[in-house]
């Protein structure tokens, strides 16, 4: 059985978190993500969970890291200014392999920018915002249904790979309402507890490229959690070059070597496309209209929608770069993910950027004109 609702994206994020088993939310409300905190404050206690409004976003990420080690599935929601404050905590969560979900509803930026308008300008920050070599997972929904589905998926990926997962939304999808279907049951990946006894267990012992099981506090296991480079026991070992290389390589490779399992894209009419458009989040909605209109005018256009943007779906983009002449990246910034497309498509297809800032998504007609301009350039 399933139930239909007419909801705003932000309401769907909260429903997704609850359905995935989130039991702890700590956050500091910020436009345009506030409705997520409001709904979690209302519904989480009724579902056996805890909601805390923290004093700021630094404390919020600290609280969800702690609650995750206490055994709960945890989440916070924010926007650009708060996301900036969370960066140190994100690196700590990556180093300590702490599963958690962060929803960032992007608004016009930099700084406090445009609280009530949309953007996609935190794309590189989501990837590189904390210091050091690390890999995380980032998903980007383009419909209210995807707000729900991707949140559930984010919780699952964060448990499977013990990594912070970021849902990178935008104000447009966060605040528009459309129908969504919420199933009674969704696939839920539970916390993987150690199989060994506390005496035999080593906190950070893991095979190459793999994710170790995770004990929680107060169950008899020796749980020493540190952001310092640590050995298999979890104790600091900061001067050993081999130990550091082994640890950080594993943290990156457990994501990169599982790219195929993690990444997700949808393609539309790409098989014979000469011009492929790539987009993610809200602008995808304009791109699909533009591609349909282009096809109606006999232009061989196709569309690749990126559901996960980090790790970047290299293979899918490379394949299209080989079959198409032109790739157009459509994003609401002055050029961020386009650089990944260029890296992957190098030598195979010409890559152009149609970036837009100001807070509104590209209009389908603007995109169609851009397609024609690119086509004319050949």
């Amino acid at each position: 059985m399933s139930k239909e609702y007419f909801l705003q994206g932000n309401e769907a994020y909260a429903k997704g978190a609850l359905k995935a088993g989130c039991k702890f939310f700590a956050g500091y409300p910020i436009t345009p993500s506030t409705e997520i905190a409001e709904d979690m404050a209302r519904d989480l206690p009724k579902n056996g969970g805890v909601f805390i409004q923290m004093e700021d976003e630094i404390a919020s990420i600290g609280a969800i890291i702690g609650a995750s080690w206490g055994g709960s599935k945890t989440m916070t929601a924010t926007s650009g200014p708060g996301f900036s404050l969370m960066q140190e905590g994100i690196g700590y969560a990556a180093m300590t392999e702490t599963p958690l979900v962060i929803i960032n509803i992007q608004r016009g930026s930099p700084s406090t920018g445009q609280p009530t308008m949309a953007s996609q300008s935190d794309v590189m920050q989501a990837r590189w915002g904390s210091h050091g070599d690390y890999e995380i997972i980032v998903l980007s929904p383009s419909s209210v249904q995807e707000c729900f589905d991707f949140t559930v998926k984010s919780f699952n990926l964060s448990e499977k790979y013990r990594v912070p997962v970021i849902v990178l939304g935008d104000e447009i999808v966060a605040h528009m309402r459309e129908k969504i279907v919420i199933p009674d049951n969704v696939e839920i990946i539970p916390r993987k507890m150690p199989k060994e006894s506390p005496e035999e267990f080593l906190l950070c012992k893991a095979d190459e490229n793999s994710t170790p099981n995770m004990p929680v506090f107060a169950e008899g296991y020796n749980v020493h959690v540190t952001g310092l480079t640590h050995d298999e026991r979890g104790y600091p070992d900061t001067n050993n070059p081999q130990e550091h290389a082994k640890l950080v390589s594993r943290l990156c490779n457990k994501i990169l070597k599982n790219r195929e399992d993690i990444t997700s894209t949808d393609s539309y009419k790409c098989e014979d496309a000469e011009i492929v458009l790539i987009s993610y989040g809200a602008p995808s909605r304009s791109v699909i209209t533009a591609v349909k209109n282009a096809r109606n005018e006999g232009i061989k256009a196709g569309f690749l929608k990126l559901n996960t943007i980090w790790p970047f779906p290299d293979e899918e983009v490379k394949k299209l770069a080989k079959s198409a002449d032109n790739i157009i990246m459509v994003e609401m910034n002055l050029g961020q993910l386009v650089n990944e497309v260029k890296r992957v498509a190098q030598g195979d297809a010409k890559v152009s950027l149609f970036g837009k800032i100001g807070g509104e998504i590209h209009k389908p007609l603007e995109i169609l004109s851009f397609i024609k301009k690119v086509q004319g350039g050949n």
């Binding site: 239909e4 009530t116 605040h175 309402r177 459309e178 699909i288 209009k363």
Partner: protein
Amino acid sequence: MRTEMRIAGFGGQGIILAGIVIGKAAALYDNIYAVQTQSYGPEARGGASRTELVISDEEIDYPKVQNPDILVAMSHEAMMAYLHDLKDNGILIVDPDMINEEEILPFIKEHNIKYYHAPATKTANEKIGLPIVANIVMLGSITEITKIISADAVIKSIKDSVPKGTEDKNLLAFEAGRKIVQ
């Protein structure tokens, strides 16, 4: 077919709720597609307020309204701000007590606009005794004039959108709104 509608007035008139009720009626009860968006400014009351709907029998990709087929104006300021986006041969529904129509008659003639009066605020005050339901009166008029959503669907949608205990008054307001434009 894709129909675009914009409802505008000032904050506190229940404009956004009216948009949600229509969207929900279409998407959940008429089983067609609907996307509702809203202008989203820092003002809470008194400033301009606007909601937009795309309603279609096909899946909706681009979610925003560009040139509405239907404009509903509950204030003079809103009407003047958005009238020029209205499509030729489009539908304009106004609350006549909230606007000054002198200014727009030439535009209506020139663009062949189908023009309707729906005195929602007056009806809410005089027939229901509650000025707060003017938005629901207007919903009745919108339903009756445009027929893009069914009255049955709107009634179901009102019941799950308004605060518990106020359903009867709101349904009276809806019926009154239908009557004033029949």
